[in-house]
Structure formats: structure tokens, C-alpha cells
């Protein structure tokens, strides 16, 4: 009898130990937010899951961005889903784009903005005391905020050059109503990360970069 009670108790403890981390992990979650899209590309593509249940793993190939591409701009929109049961912040870090030739593609040549915060699947926590804040200068569509600088080169209201280390781009109050231990189709928010490159007389070559989006506990704002 004692052994049976001990066994039940042990199982209960193990169950709690197993579930607790899972609930904790659900507190902050970032995932794919829908099908990424690309326009204006020549030999370009974007791959990523359309399912909001899948991790955020997106590969963008802007394709040809020399004057051989006669389109005005190459634009990629990546929806990103967020879930949290606490105030959050989203930060981005970048690596890999380090062309020594100033006439080659630079971080400042890749426009980067975020827009269009919306409920995930039509459901999520609606807070009245705090708002979700796109941090400056990223609250723009770089495709419409592009301009030609005094040197003739295209510049953006925000670009990858505005990322320094791990840069917070978005923050706000809790996002989810429920405390589900599993990633849900709804009950959170989605925003669009927008990337652009304007075809120009860049020095020839192939360039690449990697961006890491992270969600973490944010400023303790009320809901």
C-alpha cells in the first residue's frame, strides 16, 4: 500500500515536472505567420511555411539586383506570429553582410521595416492600457519609404544598417488570452517584416545575410 502511494506520488511529481517547463515555454513564442511573398524579383524566390504552427524559418533569394532586373524594387513580406502570456519584446540581430567594396551591396541597401500588427487567426489578447509599439525607425514599408540620396544611391527610412547587435523592433503587452501549452492556430498576433532591395549598379558579386528574430520578456506594461 505504501509502495503504491509512493508510486502515485512519484508519477504526479514527474507529471508536474514535465508539464511545468512546457507551460513556461508557451509564455513566449515566435513562429511563422503565414506564407511569405516576393514581388519584383528576377530569378528570386522566398521559401517558408504558410502554417502558423511551424517555426519561423524563411529563406529569401532576392535574385538579380543589378540593372539586369528592370523592376523598380524587389519586395519580400514575411508574416511573423507571436504568442505570449506576459509583456514581450521582439529583437533582431543580423550577420553575414560585410562587403568591403562600398559599391557592393551593403546593409543600408536592404530596406527593412515592420507593419500591420493584427490578431492571429482572429483571436488574441486585446489590451486597453498599452499598445504594441513598432520601435523607431522600423515602423514603415521600405518599398514606399525609399528615396534617392545626394549620391544617387537609394536609401530607406530603415534598413539592416539600423540593426546593431540585438535590436528591439517591437514590444507590447501580453498577446494571448489562453495559456495553452501548445502552439495554436490563433490566440496571438501577427506582424509583417518587410525587406526590399532596389536593383542598382552594385559591384558584381553574391551577398548573403542571416537575421535572427527573438521574443523575450519585455517592459512590464499593463494590459
Amino acid at each position: 500500500m505504501r509502495l503504491r502511494r509512493f508510486t502515485y506520488a512519484l508519477v504526479a511529481v514527474l507529471v508536474l515536472l514535465g508539464v511545468a517547463p512546457a507551460i513556461s515555454a508557451q509564455a513566449l513564442d515566435i513562429s511563422a505567420g503565414g506564407q511569405p511573398t516576393i514581388t519584383g524579383a528576377v530569378n528570386g524566390s522566398v521559401t517558408g511555411s504558410a502554417s502558423v504552427l511551424n517555426d519561423l524559418v524563411v529563406t529569401i533569394n532576392f535574385g538579380e539586383v543589378s540593372p539586369l532586373n528592370t523592376n523598380g524594387i524587389v519586395k519580400v513580406v514575411v508574416p511573423i506570429a507571436l504568442r505570449s502570456n506576459q509583456p514581450y519584446q521582439v529583437s533582431v540581430s543580423t550577420s553575414g553582410l560585410n562587403n568591403a567594396n562600398p559599391q557592393a551591396l551593403q546593409a543600408s541597401d536592404v530596406g527593412f521595416g515592420i507593419q500591420n500588427m493584427r490578431l492571429l487567426g482572429g483571436a488574441g489578447k486585446t489590451c486597453t492600457q498599452s499598445t504594441h509599439v513598432f520601435q523607431s525607425p522600423f515602423n514603415n514599408d521600405p518599398a514606399t519609404a525609399a528615396a534617392i540620396g545626394s549620391n544617387g544611391r537609394v536609401s530607406y527610412a530603415s534598413s539592416l544598417a539600423n540593426l546593431s547587435g540585438s535590436t528591439v523592433i517591437l514590444s507590447g503587452p501580453e498577446l494571448s488570452k489562453n495559456n495553452s501549452s501548445k502552439r495554436q492556430q490563433s490566440d496571438g498576433y501577427v506582424f509583417d517584416a518587410i525587406f526590399t532591395v532596389t536593383p542598382q549598379f552594385f559591384a558584381a558579386g553574391v551577398s548573403s545575410a542571416t537575421l535572427i528574430f527573438s521574443i523575450s520578456p519585455g517592459p512590464n506594461v499593463p494590459c
Binding site: G18, V58, N61, F62, Q103, G152, F201, A203, S216
Partner: protein
């Protein structure tokens, strides 16, 4: 089993996501018209199809009378060229000259003087560093580039690559470093250079002559 449940739950959650990106810039070169053609010293003739700046180069010129009836020293056509590139470039040219005449006195390729003038790199977005190499001798009508052959009496363009006889096959006329900085194609600036074509009116065999010239720019 608990561990399996735990693992399955964790697979559905993440605090990080990755966006990888790449882009390709291929070598790009282009040649366009640098503007209107100038025709001087002609007797009759004219510019049939003129050049339009920043449009494809496709000009047609009637040089008019080239016999002694034209008392001008030279008939000269100046064709502005505009080059743009994101890499070092080579401008080559090839030419064919066909005449209805049958004798040695008909107009031939060597009777058509050719040269490139001063190279200009100016305007926002144009790379001003480096040196362009003009493989021709410049304006073929310059005294240093031609003279009357003391033996035959025929006027000859004698300097290096100063007549179309040097360009029976694709031959380099101009080369240089990258022309454009990182600016959009809508930027209309570039490298401009005049191409001179000249013929000295002489007692050529009468008939008609057709001169066809093709410019090609490459990024080796």
C-alpha cells in the same frame, strides 16, 4: 512516455526564428546613344535617323557627295556614345565597307577615318576614379592622324586605329574601369564619348558606298 510528451510539446514552441537572405549582382554593361549626331562638311546627305540620348544606338547617316564635287576638306559625322557598367568594360567595334565600285579607287575601309574623342565621366553616380584607355588616335581629321600619300596622292588615315580598315573584325576601341557607382538604372548619367567618322572627298570611283559599324561593350 513523459519525456516523449515533453519533447513533442517543446517542438511546437520557440523563442527564435531565422530569416536567411541572399542576392546576386551580375556584371552589367550597356551602350546607348549619347545624343544627336553632328554632320559637317557634307554636300547633300544628312542624318537620316538621329540618335536619342539614353536610347538604343541606331543611327543612320547619309554622308552625301564624297567626290571632288564636295569642296570641303572632310565630311565628318560625330556620333555621341553613352556607356554604363558595374564592372570594368571594353568597347570594341567592327565595321564593313561595301562599294559599288570595282577598281582600287573605290571607297574602301581605309578611306573612312575613325576615332574616339575625349571621354567624359560626369554627373551624380558616375565613378570618376581610374583611367579610360582610348585605343584609337582620336579625331581622324587631325593633321597628325593622316596625310596625302606622297606616292599615290591618295589621302590616308595613317595613325593607329584611325580608319575602319583596322576594324574588319571586333577590335578594342576603348576600355576602362567600372563606370557607375551603386545607383539605380533610372539614373541617366554615364560615360560619354564621341565617335568620329570622316572621309576626305577625293577622286573616288563613282558609285555608292555603304558603311556599317557595330559597337559592342563587354565586361570581361
Amino acid at each position: 512516455m513523459l519525456m516523449m510528451v515533453q519533447a513533442a510539446v517543446c517542438l511546437g514552441q520557440s523563442t527564435t526564428g531565422t530569416v536567411s537572405m541572399s542576392a546576386t549582382v551580375s556584371k552589367f554593361v550597356e551602350i546607348n546613344s549619347g545624343g544627336s549626331v553632328t554632320l559637317t562638311g557634307n554636300s547633300g546627305g544628312g542624318v537620316t535617323t538621329d540618335g536619342v540620348a539614353n536610347n538604343p544606338l541606331a543611327v543612320s547617316i547619309n554622308l552625301g557627295e564624297l567626290g571632288p564635287g564636295n569642296t570641303n576638306s572632310f565630311v565628318t559625322a560625330t556620333v555621341p556614345l553613352k556607356l554604363r557598367s558595374n564592372a570594368a568594360y571594353v568597347l570594341s567595334m567592327s565595321a564593313t565597307v561595301t562599294s559599288s565600285g570595282t577598281s582600287a579607287s573605290r571607297i574602301g575601309a581605309a578611306d573612312v577615318g575613325f576615332g574616339l574623342g575625349t571621354v567624359t565621366r560626369s554627373g551624380i553616380g558616375v565613378n570618376n576614379t581610374g583611367t579610360d584607355t582610348n585605343a584609337t588616335s582620336g579625331d581622324p581629321t587631325l593633321a597628325a592622324n593622316g596625310s596625302v600619300n606622297a606616292t599615290t596622292g591618295r589621302y590616308e588615315f595613317t595613325a593607329v586605329r584611325s580608319n575602319l580598315g583596322f576594324f574588319s573584325s571586333a577590335t578594342t576601341a576603348l576600355s576602362g574601369p567600372i563606370i557607375m557607382n551603386a545607383v539605380p538604372r533610372s539614373n541617366a548619367n554615364g560615360l560619354t564619348v564621341p565617335a568620329f567618322f570622316a572621309i576626305k572627298p577625293q577622286f573616288f570611283e563613282n558609285g555608292t558606298t555603304t558603311i556599317s559599324v557595330t559597337f559592342t561593350v563587354t565586361a570581361p
